[in-house]
Symmetry: C2
Subunit: 205 residues, 2 copies
């Protein structure tokens, strides 16, 4: 028997569809929202409704943006000769929190994953190669896809493509972000693959 009013049960059902949110959490969130002023809920509801309506993609870096070219690509202070290749828009957010990196980005829109039916042609890889050939002075490509099976395969694929078309881009340095023990991590708990990468990536003092 449904014991709760329909509007409450409805929102509980909707919230529990979200990843990582179970029945109990959905109940807690719904009752939290119920206690908020109507105007707060309206703001939330509007935010869900208008999600995605203003999104365009930057024709240079293929990141989500609200202008084309995006703020980063049109920023004159950015070093256009260093391109960091990433999987998703959220990776751009994470990377751009670093004051260290002042280059530009290229967003692939995912990683190669045969299991999910995502091949190189579904990603912005040909666009990257085109961008490199058009760029006046490409110095370095930093492959910063995720350190997962898919991310590694994608990075390897791109590095190989650049090598094949070597005649066109002979002076481009292609690098892969460092893999190894995370800061604050514990060697004892690291998995074998991470440890092997950490050993491989060791540096002289």
């Amino acid at each position: 028997m449904a014991l709760l009013p329909k509007s409450i049960q409805n929102l509980i059902n909707e919230l529990s569809k979200l990843p990582g949110i179970g029945q109990k959490t959905a109940q807690r969130l719904t009752f939290y929202l119920l206690k908020q002023p109507q105007i707060e809920r309206q703001g939330f509801s509007k935010a869900v409704e208008s999600l995605g309506k203003d999104i365009i993609y930057c024709s240079i870096c293929h990141n989500m943006a609200d202008a084309d070219p995006c703020k980063i690509c049109s920023d004159v202070k950015r070093d256009k000769s260093i391109i960091c290749v990433l999987e998703d828009p959220l990776d751009v957010v994470a990377m751009d929190q670093l004051a260290d990196f002042r280059g530009v980005y290229h967003v692939l829109g995912g990683a190669i994953s045969p299991l999910e039916g995502i091949g190189p042609e579904n990603l912005k890889i040909s666009e990257l190669l085109k961008r490199l050939s058009e760029n006046q002075e490409p110095k370095e490509i930093i492959l910063a896809t995720n350190p997962s099976m898919e991310g590694e395969a994608t990075a390897m694929y791109i590095a190989k493509q650049i090598k094949i078309q070597n005649s066109k881009f002979k002076n481009i340095k292609v690098t892969r972000i460092g893999r190894g023990l995370p800061m604050g991590g514990d060697l004892e708990y690291a998995d074998e693959y991470t440890l092997s990468k950490a050993l491989e990536g060791r540096r002289e003092y």
Copy 2:
């Protein structure tokens, strides 16, 4: 610099206002929603918007309902002589999942909490006493407020009120739900207060 389109950043902000949802979770949920079909998001948005608009309160048990009297109070198969007193509508949902309990409920709307300025007059306690005096054959009141400071105080207060007005309700048995070690719990990790209640609530085999 805001790197994400406004509609995305908006929803991330709204979601991170919810209890237990931080910045990273809000980002993850927003991008999940972005990948859903528009119709799914509309359902969610509508559910938030219409939340609470259909709620009325049952004039007998004071639970949230969509009809008055509510489904439970108007159910002829329910034993009206056993009333389980609870704090919130979600407690009714939890309790009613038990096939064991076929009585009715009384929802207080919270617990006595001087710190939050909630006194007995803010809860449906006088309504409970009125209900008892009007009920033809009240047999048992099960006080099932939470086993917290506030819930214990509320249960004690109600028990005392019933005792004071003893002349009116002389045959009512007033009980408190058992407190002790939760099933699957570990004695070793139980707090002192729970252990003391478990000892107090021991029973002969």
